[in-house]
Symmetry: C2
Subunit: 253 residues, 2 copies
DNA sequence: CGGGCTATTGACGCCTGTCAACTACGGTGG
DNA sequence: CCACCGTAGTTGACAGGCGTCAATAGCCCG
């Protein structure tokens, strides 16, 4: 029953895509057909600019657990997710792994420092991305102040998200982290007009643990705790229904 | 003895400032006299642009524990530190405090989301800052792609620093965090050509604890541990001499 | 020399990690 | 359609790292 309603939402997305495409010169530009554009940094472009943009970018697919790039690799490309989810992570020398963030459709990534990626990026499930050559995009930015302004905005926004995460990892307890995580992911889905309750978690427990600075056992226990206190319902391992959003918010402090 | 050598370095900074000023039309522009400019986002400006820049910015002083702005406050200004140190932090509803970052001379701050500051900023000791009106600076950015590119670069750089901190808070042990902290602060000082060994810590133990997601007791214990294993010497509470940088690096994993 | 603040150190407890057993689920083959 | 297997998730027992609370030590300044 619930699963059906989720499917309906995913289908609705495809409809949106078709509607966007209708008014355009079909087939000439990939970008014009892109359903995620309203939520992506390229939303600031007009129709003409969009055609140019389609040419300087290309599409690539990745499947589950495939790496888009690795940390310390020389950075050549920047990416924009059009479908699917990605995790970005850093590895310690002894094998410990910290997930820096989960990225969703519309997210731009590949930020770099001294020409090297600062993290590895790996597909969670099937993923479709737009690929931009770094130098090409940079040249484009010089000519298009609107675009570079947009890029500054989303980078600043990512920075505030990272800073919020610093607070979470520095001060919150396991319960608080878990509550905060579920709310965040629900909000994230709402932002791109996807069903935000129940929430479907694309990542597994290990990923959640590595993201929250916890272990898989603790994550599991905390989910059980939220479940037994009737704040959430666990429809399946990856389907969480939020019973009481208020209580969940209070847990985030 | 060691204190003297530190003073020498501070004096040397003043000399640099004088040298920079020599070739300029003295007194007409504040920016031309600014010693921290080579390490600040305004370094990309030429002499003429600098004169304009002096006019659209103003100088302000803050003393120890004074707040420059508070989280959730409507953001009007952006700041650039010219002297002293600042902590940016977030407060939880129950009073817990997480220091997001320490900022040093040359650092630009005031990033915001939805028109509100995402953190509070407070002076550590005496501080001098450049103040920019947000809208004025934005207008300036439109006309000056070099400047907005520079701003994008430093924002992207801050983002990578924030991401590194996510790894530290998510995965490192207390010892590792402490080692990482001391090295970072030493590197930071080296970057702006200040004495990087011994390191003088402008912040107190409580600040370090709130920064590293630990308690004051643990910070103190970890410092003692590094001291007894001869990796550092504690000249005074705020003066740390690094005996063995290699061992310290190894502790950061 | 004494007051007040900051830092250090000790005793103890709890939260979360570790390790391992158990359970649930999805896919595959008979 | 069911039995089987492998993977992912849950749960339990236990341990240890770090927090908590408090006493002590060190330092600055009057």
């Amino acid at each position: 029953m619930l699963k059906l309603s989720i499917m309906a939402v995913e289908l609705k997305r495809d409809n949106v895509r078709c509607e966007l495409a209708k008014g355009d010169d079909l087939g000439h530009t990939r970008c014009a057909l892109c359903g995620i554009r309203p939520y992506s940094f390229c939303r600031c472009l007009n129709e003409d600019e969009l055609k140019v943009f389609s040419k300087i970018s290309s599409e690539r697919m990745f499947s589950d657990k495939q790496n888009i790039f690795l940390q310390q690799e020389k950075s050549k490309n920047l990416y924009n997710i059009t479908e699917g989810n990605i995790k970005i992570y850093q590895l310690l020398t002894d094998g410990r792994l910290q997930i820096i963030g989960f990225l969703y459709p519309g997210d731009f990534f590949g930020s770099y420092r001294q020409g090297k990626y600062n993290y590895s990026a790996q597909a969670i499930g099937n993923v479709k991305v737009c690929v931009f050559n770094e130098t090409t995009l940079n040249k484009h930015l010089e000519k298009n102040p609107k675009l570079s302004r947009e890029l500054l905005n989303i980078t600043a926004n990512e920075l505030t998200l990272a800073q919020d995460r610093i607070r979470v990892l520095g001060k919150l307890t396991a319960t608080e982290r878990m509550a905060n995580f579920i709310l965040n992911i629900s909000d994230q889905r709402a932002r791109i007009k996807w069903q935000d309750n129940p929430v479907s978690l694309p990542m597994n427990r290990q990923d959640i643990a590595d993201y929250l600075g916890l272990t898989i056992a603790t994550v599991s226990r905390e989910i059980t705790r939220l479940k037994t206190s009737n704040i959430i319902k666990v429809l399946s391992a990856s389907q969480i229904y939020i019973n009481d959003r208020t209580k969940l918010s209070l847990l985030c402090t």
